[in-house]
Amino acid sequence: MQSSLSLSLSPHTSLTIPRPNQSSFAPSAKPINLRFCGLRREALGYFSPLLTRRVQLNPITARRRSAADLVVSAALSGGNGSPPKSFDYDLLIIGAGVGGHGAALHAVEKGLKTGIIEGDVVGGTCVNRGCVPSKALLAVSGRMRELQSEHHLKALGLQVSAAGYDRQGVADHANNLASKIRNNLTNSMKAIGVDILTGVGTILGPQKMKVGSDKVVTAQNIIIATGSVPFVPKGIEVDGKTVITSDHALKLESVPDWIAIVGSGYIGLEFSDVYTALGSEVTFIEALDQLMPGFDPEIGKLAQRVLINPRKIDYHTGVFATKITPAKDGKPVIIELIDAKTKEPKDTLEVDAALIATGRAPFTQGLGLENVNVATQRGFVPVDERMRVIDANGNLVPHLFCIGDANGKMMLAHAASAQGISVVEQVTGRDHVLNHLSIPAACFTHPEISMVGLTEPQAREKAEKEGFEVSIAKTSFKANTKALAENEGEGLAKLIYRPDNGEILGVHIFGLHAADLIHEASNAIALGTRIQDIKLAVHAHPTLSEVLDELFKSAKVKAQVSSPVSEPVAV
């Protein structure tokens, strides 16, 4: 198993500057805290292989630790293009979002001198304009939904008089949450000595950056973590009042009577939950033939039955919004739709507001990528599976990495963080490839949707290609005691697996607290746990986690239970 860890020939090797003072190498002896890691090892077997590896990897990982060795780059740099001889930082991260933050924390833990460049506010999209404030709004919408559901409350024996809300109060809650998390994030970095450099970061050349207008800093390794901005298709005019993106919507400056949401992915779906709970009516505009295209079809169908059909929502599928004009001069927002296939004009909608939730575009302009000969693809920075940046000629750019939305591999905050940690692992001498199939995703509607791994069609396609069998197991929340106690029996958990060896290929959950339930499955995938083993694990009763217990138990695996001390399997 150690063989998978040894790194005999890294593409870095030829390009790194050999350091003489090997004695200063002082790796932490404690087991690495790996949050997103496809590798597991026992603490006992840890130390000796590391020693052997050290010899091989020293050229890459040895760093100067004493302050005297850190020389200001200005004195040394021999002009653009040639790498500096010594560096201001071991690791410089461009962008203090969740990805950059995760990387910075892990880098400090690994003993790297770390700087982080932020041109806007610490926290990035997730904390300021994404996951965090939207969770505040969804917390409100969830409660509103409960209080408004007379039928549900009555079934529980509760009586509540008319529920109402104060828009500004709700907006403040979201805003306060964002600033609280932002402060926490900033403090957590400051407290451990991460330098926060304010200003726009531009790459000047290999290992060299400009921050703001004139400050030049150098770093052994640079991570691009600049994230993304809402993607607005051509023809759509965003005025920030009646035609808005998620950035504006999260401020909740108004609750329109009727809002069209362009795009029915995570963002659109979550906002439809918020808006309908607050009294809006929603029209979805989806370019593909069905709503929620990214989800497992079965989950999507069920979700549509619960999240769309009974609510004040209608939808147009298979259409593009070619032109959206904001409301002005007493006229409503006008949306022109064309058929996605024939391109013929199909319909015109007149609504009070339109939310553009057509996805996100990487924020990589002005980054100076041309100075290291990197050409973006639709704005995304091309990277290999180790997040190493690939230049226009298809070669790896040494010491330059890109994580998170900017590389487009998996546009999720926690994926960015995992990628950042993976990069730090690599630059500190441990090869690491992140298994993206073990990264869970969640949509925080009421009830929630969560998933990890492959969808059923993806799994079947893979199975056909690789010649294995795929089985499906399902359990309903209607059979779960806790869910019934909550009177929230609507829901489904679905397991996609290989019956021959018990490998979990994907798990999809729609139901109460699905986003919290998914981790049992994602951890199992990350650690390579097989169904025949996990089905013997005990779950507290009565809990929602028994939905997954049931799910694993209902799977029919042909393989025998492996030995209780199971061998970790790299995936």
């Binding site: 009516e281 197991a473 009763h541 028994e546």
Partner: protein, 461 residues
Amino acid sequence: MAHLLNTSFIPSSSPTLRPRNPTILIHTRRAPTRIVAKIREIFMPALSSTMTEGKIVSWMKSEGDKLSKGESVVVVESDKADMDVETFYDGYLAAIMVEEGGVASVGSAIALLAESEAEIADAKSKAASTSPSSSSSSSSSAAAAAEVAAAPPQVKEVASLSLSTHPASEGGKRVVASPYAKKLAKELKVELGRVVGSGPSGRVVAKDVEAAAAAAAFSVGPTAAETASVAAKSVGIELGTVVPFTTMQGAVSRNMVESLAVPTFRVGYTFTTDALDALYKKIKSKGVTMTALLAKATALALAKHPVVNSSCRDGKSFTYNSSINIAVAVAMDGGLITPVLQDADKVDIYSLSRKWKELVDKARAKQLQPQEYNTGTFTLSNLGMFGVDRFDAILPPGTGAIMAIGASQPTVVATKDGRIGMKNQMQVNVTADHRVIYGADLASFLQTLANIIEDPKDLTF
């Protein structure tokens, strides 16, 4: 643990969560006249021991599709899980009787299965006659008092107004309705094109649809009463402005136009009401109202003239109503409603009076149930309290006749014995659909009614 506690739910690893034994689904029903044809009903199966009703999640086949034994036809949601339901017979899915999202109790028919393609049409017509969703549309069954105080020009004006006021609706071709309004319209079976929107730029919103559904009964014209009250309140109206119709007014407008398709004629009559007035004075203290007395008298007369209680629904036949339900127009703020006194010929005058009071109270609180305003077979409209001595009413679509009642007032009359005397007299004017009710029918009905009113002892039993 959970699986032990929920024994009736058996998690299955099969991809469809299919019931082990789909319960007997299909019953055969043979049309009495056709021995060969087999049209089977597909029933809502009992998918668990506790299931009493099931929701149709989705139809996997559509009408006209060929089915073979064992094929999944429909997904049903029970109290426990969603299950695919299979057919036991080969055939064609002829008619779907419960749409997706609909709920049916266990054992009730949800679709028809025809054995051959030729029988699909038969099955369809059968479904149409039995399907719960095909119950008479609101407009045809809606009883409505429609009256216009002798104002033919007004009718013309109404007719020229467009139904939808949305600027972008391209002359009514396109309906701009909010998502919830569309959903509600489907649920309440309201035709969106006929709903006037009150939302921004005339958009149809949920409350318009709700109002339109309720207004099926309100479908009436502006009465003199209303006109009078509007005139009295005209202070609140900004002159020189154009005010779009409310939903109720829009409905009125449509019904007025619709009534033009009915060939009506009018017959007038003058009643002497001295005896009726005396009776009223005597039993007034017991809570009896003049409205109830008139309704009762009319009902008793109608019992002897069933043709006047009939209506013409399709232009080809008489529909003889089994009960005599007297609808009485009541002016309300911004409109009009017609509460119905059901079986007015059979109910005694005291109960009828109590019922009337209850209906009026409900109408004011806008709490009338549909059967309380849309089941009338004959309509009364009384403008006597305004001093109107005679007027002319418009026939509400779906009914045969309406009687306009003027004020009862002292009149100098020549009596049969050659003297001149003073009697209380009241003029009525009946508007009727000449396709079913002819002049002689009305005349003899009015004569009967005159006898009852002039000798009202029968009214109190």
